[in-house]
Amino acid sequence: MIAGIALAIVQVVIVGAGAPLLVGALRTLKARLVGRRGPSPWQPYADFRKLLAKEAVVSTTTSWVFRATPYILVATLLVTALVVPVVTVRPPLTFAGNIILLVYLFMLGTFFLALAGLDAGSAFGGMGSSREVAVAALAEPTVIVAVFALALRADTIDLGRIVERFGGEPWLAANPAHLLAFAAFFIVMLAETGRLPVDNPATHLELTMIHEAMVLEYSGRHLALVEWASAMKLFLFMTLLANLFVPWGLTEPSGPVAVLRGLLALTGKLALLTIAVAVLETAVAKLRLFRVPELLAGSFALAFLSLMAVFLVR
């Protein structure tokens, strides 16, 4: 029990404290790739500190939904942080749900953020909400089918056990089905976390925004919470991708050493993934909004092929 709570705290701290660094490192890397020196990887922490010292300007049109959403958003992501195997194969809330819970917890956050986008009554917020839920809804089947393809081969849908199973039997992971599911999940990760080529996190043009348009109204501490939440979402999606598809380095939470080893493995995997995302974001242009469904349909096709590979090869 006490070990479980300790692990829960460790995991939340890793996700909560690591997420801004991940975002910062991604920005620095992207700057370097276009020949700029770029901001320090620690820049997001400074941004948060400053935002927390500022007042919050809240539109008088809004209701309690707008003000409660940043807290709800952070809460859903903290719970998610307890469900994902971050540094061990036994995430603290593993008994309470699994991948389906995870997907629907992300949806809970999106639901409230989209409502908050509508709450101020500006055209930008509505536009952002509409696009965000469209992308989230279309990405949904891919996530579920890709994970189903994994679950099928691991014979469980418990995330920790999937990692354990693939970690223990490496030949299970060296399989075309695995790679196809990885590709599908990678695309979905980009879509769900608002990265290029689906959404441009650095855009200043309202008409091209998806995620940014929803949060245009937030300021001060509210903005800090929303930004923190989206950083955690990116961190968790990348962690999921890293640990589900490259499951090595994670073990039972037998002690501090195991946790530390898991953390080291995670850091390595995330570093590689961050480089991959940065290179991709530098190299591709943003897709036109109505081309995004084609990309997501493509990712669904990959997930479906992965599943077929499992059915036919067994």
Partner: protein
């Protein structure tokens, strides 16, 4: 896509190094430390075009490019005044933009400051006295610093931002 990446890798970083202190870097370094002191090494700028000819905007855009690279000092541009600490206002304030500028100022959360950019922003510049303008930025919202020039160079912009932050500290 690979050509772009290849170019990026071959060219390397063109942002000029800070150590052999040129004028620009000295200003930038000081800006960074001032920003650090007052805004926790993070300054978000919302640029407002109150009727400019876009000459100033061209120079401001230069700040974000690889050569000047404002972001390395912890300064970045944002899309909404709600996210901003600083309003960077260009152009003489036209009658049509005066109210919009006022509302933008109100929409920005405190603590905040306003920098008027260019000769037009200072007092209307070549448009001074025109029936179509209200005047300089200071005639509409409280201005903390002015960066003169037509248009001011990116280096001058950096210096001006620094001065504004310094004045805010006093």
């Amino acid at each position: 896509m690979f050509r772009q990446l290849r170019t990026a890798l071959r060219t390397g970083i063109v942002t000029e190094p800070v150590v052999p202190a040129g004028e620009l870097e000295r200003i930038g370094e000081r800006l960074a430390s001032e920003v650090a002191r007052h805004f926790g090494r993070s300054l978000a700028i919302r640029q407002v075009d109150a009727g400019s000819c876009n000459g100033c905007e061209l120079e401001i855009t230069g700040l974000t490019g690889p050569h000047y690279d404002l972001e390395r000092f912890g300064v970045h541009f944002v899309a909404s005044p709600r996210h901003a600490d600083c309003l960077l206002v260009t152009g003489p304030v036209t009658r049509n933009m005066a109210e919009a500028l006022r509302r933008t100022w109100h929409a920005t959360p405190d603590p905040k400051f306003v920098v008027a950019v260019g000769d037009c922003g200072r007092d209307g510049g070549v448009f001074r006295g025109s029936y179509a303008i209200v005047g300089g930025v200071a005639d509409v919202v409280p201005v903390d610093a002015v960066i003169p020039g037509c248009p001011p160079s990116p280096a001058a912009l950096l210096a001006g931002l620094l001065e504004a932050i310094g004045r805010l500290a006093r």
